[in-house]
Subunit: 350 residues, 2 copies
C-alpha cells in the first residue's frame, strides 16, 4: 500500500525503550495501515526486536543513530552535544520534510528545545505551548500551556486560547468549544492585568469559540469549559497537583479495600466495575503531551508509558497531521485583533 | 471557671448559619471549657437556638448586630457598608482587645479585607497569607498562600516560608519542618527569578527549618515536604484543582459501585473500610483556612461546613492563641537576611 503519512519515531526515548517503542509502533501499524514509520535508533539493538514483529517490515525502516538523549541531559546540553541522537535526528526528519511528524517518549525539555530549534514557531505564533487532555465529570478538558512558558503575556494567553480551541475543534470534534482563562475568581476584575487584557481581546475576537471568561481550579475537573487556558507555570503546577491527587485518592481507596477481610471480599465482588472506572482515568488513554504552535507536528509521550500508551501518542500525531491542525490554527489567528495591547507587548514575542 | 481565652464568633456567616455556628460553638464548649465565646449576630434569631444548648449559657454571650455580610458582597462594599454586620463587629472585638481571635464561616474576601483593615499585618510581615492543611500519603501538608496575594515578590515568598514553618512547628508539632518552594522543576535554575531569589535567601537563613529547595505540583500529595510555599495565584489554582480532582475521583468510584448489582453488593460488604478512607480526606477535618501574618488571630471556616467543621475551625483558633503563633513568627523573622534583594524590592512591601 502506498503510505499517505510518514512519522519519525525516537526509538531510544522512554524508560522501557526501545522494546516498548517498537511494540507501540507495531500496534500502530495495525491501527494505521497508511502510515510509514522512520525508526531512529541503534540498528544493532532494534533489528532483533523488529524481527519479533514481522508486520513491521512493511511499514517501517530503521535509520541508524549512534547517540541517545538521557533523562538527565539539560536541554541546552542535549542540543549542543547530541546531534546524532535518535531524538535529534527524528526531529530533523520533520524539518527536512522526510516525515510529517515526530513522536518521542524521551526527555521533554530536550525534545521541546530540539523541536523549537528545528521546526520554529508557526507564523503568527510567538510561543509554542504544551497541551494535554484530562478527564472531567462530563467528558474531557483540553488544557494548555503545561510548562513550555513559565511567564506569559496577554498576547501569549490569547494565542494559547486560539490553539486550544482549534485543538478541541479538530481533534475532539467539538463544533464550537467553550474556552476559559484560569484565574482565582470568576469576576471580571479578578486576577492579574495580564489575564484581564487577554480576556478583553478574546471577548471581542470573532473566533469559532464561546469565550466563557474566567474559570477556577476546580472547573478543570468539573468540565465547566472544553478548553482551559493558563500560563505554563500555573498549568504545570495544576497538572502535577491533579495527577498527584488522583494517585493519592486511588491509594487511599486501595488501602481501604485491603483494610479488612470484609473489604477484600467486597473488592473481589465489585472489582469488574471498579476496574472500568480506573480505566476511564488510565493515564495511557491521555498519553501524549503535544507541542502546539510549532511549524511541524511533535508529540511527547510519557517517559514511563507502555506500548499501548505509545501507540496512543502515535494516534494523536496521525490525527494532527490528518486534520491539518497547524493550517487551521493559522486561519483562526487571522480573526484576532491584538491592537488593544500596549504596542511593546504586542511586538514582544512576535 | 475563669475563662483563659476569649474568641469572637461571626454567628451569621456560613450557608447554614446561625444554627450550624451555634451548634459548633456548643461542641467547642465541651472541648475547650476554658474558652469564652462572644457570639455576634441577630439576638432575636440566636436566642431560641441557644435555648437548645443550655451549656452555652456558661461559656458564651450574644452581642446583637443588625446586619449581615452576604456571599455576594464585594470586599470593598462590605467594608464600607456593613459596619454593623456580625462579621465586622466580630473582627472589631479582636482589634479592641475584647477577644483573642475571631472565627467566621462567611465571605472570605470580606473577612480578609476586614481583618487586614482592623488588625493590620504583624510587624515585619508585608503580606499576610491564607494557609491550610491538606492530607498527603504520609501525613499532612501545610500550604500557603492560597489566594490573598495574586502577585508575589521574593520577599513575600520568604515571609510565607517563615510563617508556614512556624505554623507546622507550633500547630503540627513538627520539630524542624521541611519547606519547599513550589516550582515547575526541582533544578536550581528552574522557574522565575523571583523563585530563585527567594530560594537563595532561604538557603542562607538560620531558620528552624530544613529548606528543601524546589518542589513540584505532585509533591503536595506525596508529602515530600511539610510546608509548600507559593504565590497566592498558583496556590489558589492548585488548591481548587486538588479539591476538584478528589471529588472527581470519588465520583468515578461511586459510579463504579453503582454500575452493577455485583458492584452494589461489593460496596455493601466493603463499605465500613471505604467510609473510613473517605473520612480520612473529609474536608471537615481540614476545615479552617487561616490568615497568618495578621496582628491578631482570624480563622475562616468553609462556608458550606457543618457544626463539626466549625468546631474544628474554632479548635485551630484556640491552638493559634495558645501556642503564641504570632510571637513565634516575629522571633523567627529576625533570622532572615533580606539584604541580598534589590533594595527596591526589599522595601516594596514593608
Amino acid at each position: 500500500m502506498a503510505k499517505r503519512i510518514t512519522l519519525s519515531v525516537d526509538a531510544m526515548g522512554g524508560d522501557d525503550a526501545p522494546d516498548m517503542v517498537i511494540e507501540g509502533v507495531h500496534l500502530s501499524c495495525v491501527r494505521h495501515p497508511d502510515v510509514h514509520f522512520l525508526l531512529f535508533g541503534d540498528q544493532a539493538r532494534l533489528e532483533p526486536i523488529l524481527a519479533k514483529y514481522p508486520r513491521l517490515a512493511d511499514c517501517s525502516e530503521i535509520i541508524h543513530t549512534t547517540d541517545v538523549v538521557t533523562g538527565d541531559d539539560k536541554p541546552s546540553q542535549a542540543l549542543r552535544q547530541r546531534k546524532d541522537s535518535s531524538m535529534f535526528r527524528a526531529v530533523g526528519a520533520v524539518k527536512d520534510g522526510q516525515a510529517d511528524g515526530v513522536v518521542s517518549a524521551g526527555n521533554t525539555g530536550a525534545l521541546m528545545a530540539m523541536a523549537l530549534l528545528a521546526l520554529r514557531a508557526l507564523p503568527g505564533i510567538s510561543r509554542p505551548a504544551i497541551v494535554t487532555t484530562l478527564p472531567n465529570t462530563v467528558g474531557e478538558t483540553v488544557m494548555l500551556d503545561l510548562g513550555a512558558n513559565a511567564e506569559c503575556s496577554a498576547r501569549h494567553l490569547v494565542e494559547f486560547a486560539v490553539m486550544g480551541e482549534v485543538y478541541a475543534r479538530t481533534l475532539h470534534g467539538i463544533q464550537r468549544p467553550t474556552v476559559g482563562l484560569l484565574n482565582i475568581g470568576t469576576e471580571e476584575l479578578k486576577g492579574t492585568g495580564t489575564l484581564r487584557d487577554a480576556a478583553a481581546i478574546l471577548r471581542e475576537a470573532k473566533l469559532e469559540m464561546d469565550f466563557h471568561g474566567f474559570v477556577e481550579g476546580d472547573d478543570i475537573a468539573k468540565g465547566t469549559v472544553d478548553v482551559v487556558v493558563t500560563d505554563g507555570f500555573t498549568g504545570n503546577v495544576a497538572l502535577k497537583a491533579i495527577e498527584g491527587t488522583a494517585k493519592l485518592v486511588y491509594s487511599f481507596i486501595s488501602n481501604g479495600f485491603r483494610a479488612s477481610l470484609l473489604a477484600k471480599l467486597g473488592y473481589l465482588i465489585a472489582r469488574g466495575s471498579i476496574k472500568r472506572v480506573v480505566m476511564r482515568t488510565d493515564p495511557r488513554r491521555y498519553n501524549g503531551a503535544l507541542f502546539v504552535g510549532l511549524n511541524g507536528i511533535a508529540v511527547k509521550s510519557h517517559g514511563g508509558t507502555d506500548a499501548l500508551g505509545f501507540a496512543n501518542a502515535i494516534g494523536v500525531a496521525v490525527d494532527m497531521v490528518d486534520r491539518r491542525l497547524n493550517e487551521q490554527i493559522g486561519a483562526e489567528l487571522a480573526n484576532v485583533d491584538l491592537s488593544s495591547l500596549r504596542s511593546s507587548e504586542a511586538e514582544s514575542g512576535a
